[in-house]
Amino acid sequence: MDVSVTVNGTTYARDVEPRKLLIHFLRDDLDLTGSHIGCDTGNCGACSVIVDGVLVKSCMLLAVQADGASIETVEGISENGELTPLQQSFNEHHALQCGYCTPGMLMSATALLRDNASPSDAEIKKALQGNICRCTGYWNIFEAVKAVAK
């Protein structure tokens, strides 16, 4: 089926097998490998992307369901090649070790900060509920987000 999506401002039109998950479409067809596949079952959040302004898990969505949508992935959040304050903060707070969860964490935190520039501690924790990290113990990730919250 023909699918046309805008990803990080660029429009892509492709013929897509209807069974293909959005995460596989992004990674394999568009070569945007920033979004990770941690579980493929909707659990880990490593595949989180923003579709039409809404944070979703791209392993739970078929690419054809996203036809016509505007998608943001971790590759698109930096501005003019510069890391965003959130990305900088992840770096400064050692909010990653292996980095596997990081794209998803960044997307969840980005979505949070867009809706709510000054989240409370509880709101930060809630926004990261759907993302699993097996390395950091979460605390540094929380601190990194908190540091950029106003």
């Binding site: 909707g42 739970m60 969505l61």
Partner: protein
């Protein structure tokens, strides 16, 4: 496989419905669901809340912050799944999620799949049912369904109106379905009665984002109290009173759910007072 995107009920003609896809997509991927045609119903099913009527396409994420709905429903949505999944998952889809029994998900030829044996009863069943578990011991996973049953909500489909509890049936030898939904029947709206007070309490393996070990919804509606439980029977389970828990038939490794259910029902009723 093809995907259709109808924009009106009249255009519907067979196929497997998909809304958010958080259940359909994993089932397709695991080969538990076969579909020649997927029908994206987002253009057909109403979305949003007005005057006690909720579009079945409203997401759990929208409902968890909706001030006009009863506490039990808002809380059931808030405690379900994870933020991303609540952004995707619809109310209608949530009511129709399949069994989370691991044997069923791994495609064991068990009774719910049409076979002649319940692998969970003889095998691993820590998460399973304490009521109506003779034929299939699966535990219904929907927090939202338990809340809607307790609230006395009604459904409007493209074919009929029914109480939410009438959507569910226990599977048996002759018919393995756990819902009464017909082929091609689409849930359009959920209608809530006037509710005086309601509460939803949920015990989970971890504090966030897990299916209910036991979920308890209680509501004061029309002068009476209604109680419904998630995670205790193959379908959302209504009980008349806390004493009804004495009639549970736990399996050897689901006995732990009984004191949990007792405590939560007690707490829920106390909160209604």
């Amino acid at each position: 496989m093809e995907l259709l995107r109808p924009s009106s009920v009249e255009e519907l003609d067979g196929g497997v419905f998909v809304h958010g896809g958080t259940e359909v997509v994993p089932l397709l991927r695991d080969g538990l669901l076969e579909a020649e045609t997927l029908v994206d119903v987002r253009g057909v099913v109403p979305r949003g809340v007005s005057d006690g009527v909720i579009g079945a396409g409203t997401t759990l994420g929208e409902l968890e912050v909706e001030p006009s709905i009863p506490d039990a429903l808002r809380e059931a949505c808030r405690l379900a799944a994870s933020p991303q999944l609540r952004n995707m998952g619809s109310l209608g889809g949530n009511l129709l999620q399949s069994s989370r029994c691991w044997y069923w998900r791994l495609d064991y030829p068990c009774r719910l799949h049409g076979g002649d044996r319940c692998h969970a009863r003889d095998g691993e069943h820590r998460e399973h049912a304490i009521f109506a578990n003779d034929f299939c011991a699966s535990a219904h996973p929907s927090d939202v369904a338990a809340a809607l049953v307790a609230l006395g909500a009604r459904l409007r489909t493209n074919r009929r109106e029914l109480r939410v509890e009438e959507l569910y049936r226990l599977p048996d030898e002759a018919d393995r379905h756990t819902t009464t939904l017909e082929d091609g029947e689409l849930i359009l709206e959920v209608e809530l009665p006037d509710v005086e007070a309601s509460v939803y309490l949920k015990a989970m393996d971890r504090k966030r984002w897990s299916f209910p070990q036991v979920g308890v919804a209680a509501a004061r509606v029309g002068g009476g109290v209604r109680i419904a439980l998630a995670g205790v029977a193959p379908i959302p389970w209504r009980i008349d009173s806390i004493e009804a828990l004495d009639n549970a038939t736990p399996l050897p490794r689901t006995e732990w759910k009984l004191p949990l259910a007792r405590a939560l029902v007690g707490r829920a009723l106390a909160q209604l007072d």
